[in-house]
Amino acid sequence: MNRRRRVPPTLIAGAVVVALVVVAALVSLVWTPFDPRLADTASRLLGPGVEGHLLGTDQYGRDLLSVVLAGSQVIVIVGVLAVGIAAVLGIPLGALAAVRGGWVGELVMRGSDVMYAFPAVLMALMLSAAYGSSTTTAMVAIGIAYVPVFARVTRAASLQVLTRDYVLAARAYGRRSPYIVVRHVLPNISSVLIVQATVAFALAVLAEAALSYLGVGTQPPTPSWGRMLKDSQTFLDSAPRLALWPGLAIAAVVLGLNLLGDGLRDRYDPHAHIEGRP
């Protein structure tokens, strides 16, 4: 039995978790047990199982389960768009650096070093100071902060591919660089990029949660796990479940994404250079 062909359990576990989150996000768009924005003040702070509220209600009388489910929407949106921005900007830059080399490559790498000094949270704080706090600001900031990650990984992986025979053959045949990149390089580094994307997605989820906790991310009344954690802090002694569920949700999503990334790497390219992923 060829061990390499077996699908790693981490991959399966991760994929299941991620799928659940996506399903939760999609389903909650059209249906949740209760309206997550309806504050029924007469039913505040109910315990789990009371009056049909599976997890109870929060301090405003909103159904906890519905709010948690609805919170997955922001997670998915931010993750997809932040990673999208980072990839769309970072991959071409990395490919450029690899193909051109010389001072262009040097400039791109030095530039990404500078960007590296701006962690996502710091970038988001700056942007929210200038443009106001919102999901969009957080998303754009996180995306920009991860551009160097994709640039580096693309460059490293591309450099390896560029020395391969079929690339040299293509050059000899007269093909121009953009063609080579699109036709030969990108398909061959795609597995690395996908793994990097899952890592970046996980980090984006954590960053958005931290920003919402600080109050500079997703704003009310859009449900947000990070903000829920902040609001629940004054109720820690009276109703700790208000902090438990959003925290678990975040951890579960990130764990799932990490497992997925690990699984994909084990399956396709265990020795690939992935940023932020030992």
Binding site: R110, G111, V114, F118, V121, G132, L236, N258, P278
Partner: protein
């Protein structure tokens, strides 16, 4: 070697300037004209114009940037329009909280990661490795601020072992100050430690595969003995590099954790400055933080090249 150092230093300087431009450009869009904020709605247009001139806001952005950076290189980060207090002094005072916190967190993380990573690598493909792996997965998935909140609930509120927040000034009580930093540092270290453990494990595994280890074993050393004698120094190299790279994440973690535990550090000051629309303070703080990261990475780069003889002779 000297040429290498010089070249890297030049790049550092260029990077610092690039970072400063980025910070300045992004924050130039900050709403809330400082003159209006200070004088309020009763201000006459003449008073506003006079104050703008005094604050230097009526010149083109490029000139404003030049003045700001000119002051920065001389060590003067400006005076806040909002509080009339010098920015540099405020940052310096806060640094005495954030600095030790980051150091404390990093140290704890290394103390967790070194033995755990080595253990995990030594028990590769056995139960020990699986257990550590599961733990690190959890550690990386948990947000640092949630860990902080849970720690407060458990350790401070229920058990009363450590303070739930706030900071005792160093001048007042060194022991108290350290106690105030324990839970915050642990919150940071849980996440960083998990990440570092994996790096250590990976580095050690790589080393274990190397020829010189096999040679040592062939000569009769145990695996652990070979590892300790020959491998650890080489395993340390990539880990040290990683520490430098992780610094910006560590700082981000410290910024958030400071707000959970209400520590008077750069993180909390930054958040407050943003709320107050204190442009110079935000600019100065962000620039400071990025400069720290760039400088540390520069030093790590040098250390890396010094430690790795292969690279040393190559240059």
């Amino acid at each position: 070697m000297a040429l290498f150092v010089l070249r890297r230093f030049a790049i550092l300087i260029a990077s610092v300037f690039a970072a400063s431009v980025l910070v300045f450009v992004v924050l130039a869009a900050l709403p809330g004209d400082a003159a209006e904020v200070q004088l309020g709605d009763q201000a006459t247009p003449e008073a506003l114009a006079a104050l703008r001139h005094e604050l230097g806001l009526d010149v083109p952005l490029v000139v404003q940037y030049g003045r700001w950076m000119g002051g920065v290189v001389r060590g003067d980060l400006g005076t806040s329009y909002v509080s009339s207090l010098p920015v540099g002094a405020q940052i310096r005072d806060r640094l005495f909280v954030t600095g030790p916190l980051a150091l404390f967190g990093m140290t704890l993380a290394v103390l967790i990661a070194a033995p755990a990573g080595v253990y995990s690598a030594a028990h590769h493909r056995r139960l020990g490795d699986a257990v550590v792996s599961a733990l690190t997965q959890l550690g990386m998935a948990v947000p640092a601020f949630w860990a902080g909140i849970m720690l407060i609930t458990l350790v401070s509120v229920k058990l009363h072992w450590l303070p739930a927040g706030g900071f005792v000034p160093w001048g007042q009580d060194v022991g108290g100050a350290l106690r105030s930093l324990v839970l915050p540092a642990v919150s940071i270290a849980l996440v960083q430690g998990a990440i570092l453990t994996r790096y250590v494990r990976s580095a050690v595994l790589d080393v274990l595969r190397e020829d010189y280890i096999r040679t040592a074993r062939a000569r009769g050393r145990t695996r652990t003995g070979a590892l300790v004698r020959h491998g650890l120094r080489n395993a340390a190299i990539p880990v040290v590099t990683v520490l430098g790279l992780q610094l910006s994440f560590l700082i981000a973690g410290a910024v958030v954790v400071e707000n959970v535990f209400f520590l008077p550090g750069l993180g909390r000051m930054l958040l407050r400055a943003i709320g107050d629309r204190d442009l110079l303070l935000v600019q100065g703080t962000v620039l400071m933080l990025t400069v720290v990261v760039l400088v540390v990475n520069f030093l790590v780069d040098l250390a890396y090249h010094y430690l790795d003889p292969r690279l040393r002779t190559a240059t």
